[in-house]
Amino acid sequence: MGSIFNLQQVVNGLQLGSIYALIALGYTMVYGIVRLINFAHGDFYMIGAYTAYGAFFLFNAVLGGSGLPMAAVALVLAMLASGLVALLTNRLAYRPLRYKPKLSSLITAIGVSMLIEYLFSALPFIGPSFRAFPEILPSVPIKLGQNATISTHALIDIGVAAVLMIGLTILVRHTTLGKAMRAVSQDKDAAKLMGIDVEKVIAWTFMIGGAFAGAAGLLAGMTYPRIFPFMGILPGLKAFIAAVLGGIGNIPGAVLGAYIMGVAETFATAYNSLLGEGIAFAILIVVLLVRPRGILGEKHADKI
């Protein structure tokens, strides 16, 4: 075993995987319901990071908030902001195209993504340059055995992701909304005939997905403290690939895929930085060629 295959890398991979998992969940939920790759999803993550950044400055300056309550407020605000933007995006851009060819929605999604990114980088109070994310909570390393540590940030990342994922599972399995979401993802038309307000369910899905991406944005800002308007592109793509790896449309699959992706990327980057950048796409191609439905995806044939 080489020096790069150690416990520390696994911890780092799980930490990264938690962030990917939160983004991937939104992708997979939206795809499961409207069969759309929401390109702008990575930008909801970016909006979450910037909202948390703004919230910190506002509350720290005015109220002197800090520590855990501050982080909680930032988390709630980030989730709210990203969720609302996702809701608005769906209403203004995707809903009018719902029954048009799928490619139109995809191209619109690319347009929405560009619009958000360039709007943020053109706005004078945000700007295109990198910003250092403030240290809301200090990072304290905790020893894990001989030669590995886990930081409190990593524990927070993994913990917040776990709590949100448990919440989502309860929501999807045990609430009326969850039941409606499952029904719409199985058969939109049948769901409509059963009296489900399909558009409302789609709107909720976008909002929940966006809020999860917003939470991921805050966590990423705290963990890798450098934010900029285009920060969402690559994590967004990688989270999408994670969702495909796990089986797109499948919620546990997205989480599984995200953790595999996080660990794989950490190892690959430790080996070679170019490989680290390319590994996600290599995984995507292998998955699509070998098992296109993903690890946990269900098999379905093309209808003629």
């Binding site: 799928k102 995809l106 053109a122 796409f281 995507l284 060629l289």
Partner: protein, 331 residues
């Protein structure tokens, strides 16, 4: 999609050439000439992307990756020749060969990427091609022999108006003739219904790879011309966002319409320049916080609005007709 035969294309190109030459005499300055050149480069990129996205209907998002291959390969060759003997006029045959070499390299990359990926459809293909485009860029960013993140500098300025126009003409003519041939009909059949095309015996994968390779070839030539116009090949010139710009041209003009791509390449290149300078002067005049960097915001809005209100683009799948031929009745 029928358009009258070849001479018209030649006439339009010759007319454009003559018009620009005449305008040069009456104060058509270097900046305007640069815009004309840039538009023609975008014509090559948009028309070649239209072959892939429009005619055979495979959604590719990594077109600038192929342009990057062409730019770096031809740029490296000409830079080398130029260093050996810096006499510009003598190097034009070498320049054309270098461009073709760049195109061939891009086509080879296209085939290499096409074989594994073209089994995928729609949005998956979009993501994979996007990924490959970015990987190509990252590879150039990491090769120190071609400048790495500094870019390949000192490329001779070989791309003149006449050369670019000639290549744009060749690109449009070749792709139009293919689109109108039996091969083109097969490609359109694949676009319209891949399963049905497969069932009537069309080699769908073979056609997709061929179209991909040909599109990549012309993208490589376009990239080479671009590098010899700006005298630099830099990894950031070939990012995802530029692939999207070319994509916007294809969709604004009408996916499947070559005329539309040509018109949109001109219109959007000029619009970009107008917006950049217009917004900057608006800022300096009024003090509004709207600078030249807002043009991408407007660009993105344009793409969304096209998709929402005119999905088929400016021309749909129609082509411009310079001569209206009355349709014969089927009897």
């Amino acid at each position: 999609m029928k358009i009258p035969r070849t001479p018209w294309l030649l006439v339009v190109a010759a007319g454009f050439w003559a018009a620009v030459q005449l305008l040069r005499l009456v104060g058509f300055n270097d900046y305007y000439l640069f815009i004309a050149n840039l538009s023609l480069v975008y014509v090559i990129l948009a028309v070649s992307l239209n072959l892939i996205n429009g005619i055979i209907g495979q959604f590719s998002l990594g077109h600038m990756g192929f342009a990057a291959v062409g730019a770096y390969v031809s740029g490296s060759i000409t830079t080398l020749i130029f260093k050996l003997s810096p006499n510009v006029a003598a190097h034009y045959p070498g320049f054309v060969l270098a461009l073709v070499a760049g195109g061939v390299a891009a086509a080879l990359v296209g085939v290499a990427i096409g074989f594994p990926t073209l089994r995928l459809k729609g949005d998956y293909l979009a993501i994979v091609t996007l990924g490959f485009g970015e990987i190509i860029r990252t590879v150039f960013n990491n090769i120190d022999a071609v400048g790495g993140p500094r870019g390949l500098l000192g490329i001779p300025k070989f791309s003149t108006f006449t050369v670019i126009l000639a290549f744009a003409l060749i690109t449009v003519a070749v792709i139009r003739n293919i689109a109108e041939s039996a091969h083109g009909r097969n490609m359109i059949a694949i676009r319209e219904n891949e399963l049905a095309a497969d069932l009537v015996g069309i080699d769908t994968t073979g056609y997709k790879v061929k179209a991909f390779a040909l599109g990549a070839f012309f993208a490589g030539i376009g990239g080479g011309l671009y590098a010899h116009l700006l005298q630099i090949a830099h990894p950031t010139q070939f990012g995802f966002i530029y692939s999207v710009q070319v994509l916007i041209m294809v969709y604004a003009g009408g996916v499947g319409s070559l005329t539309g791509s040509v018109l949109a390449a001109f219109a959007l290149t000029i619009l970009t320049q107008l917006l950049k300078s217009g917004l900057s002067s608006l800022k300096s005049l009024t003090g509004l916080p709207i600078g030249g960097d807002w043009y991408m915001v407007l660009y993105a809005l344009l793409l969304i609005l096209i998709m929402l209100y005119r999905t088929e683009g400016l021309m749909g799948t129609r082509e411009a007709k310079l001569m209206v031929i009355p349709e014969e009745d089927d009897k």
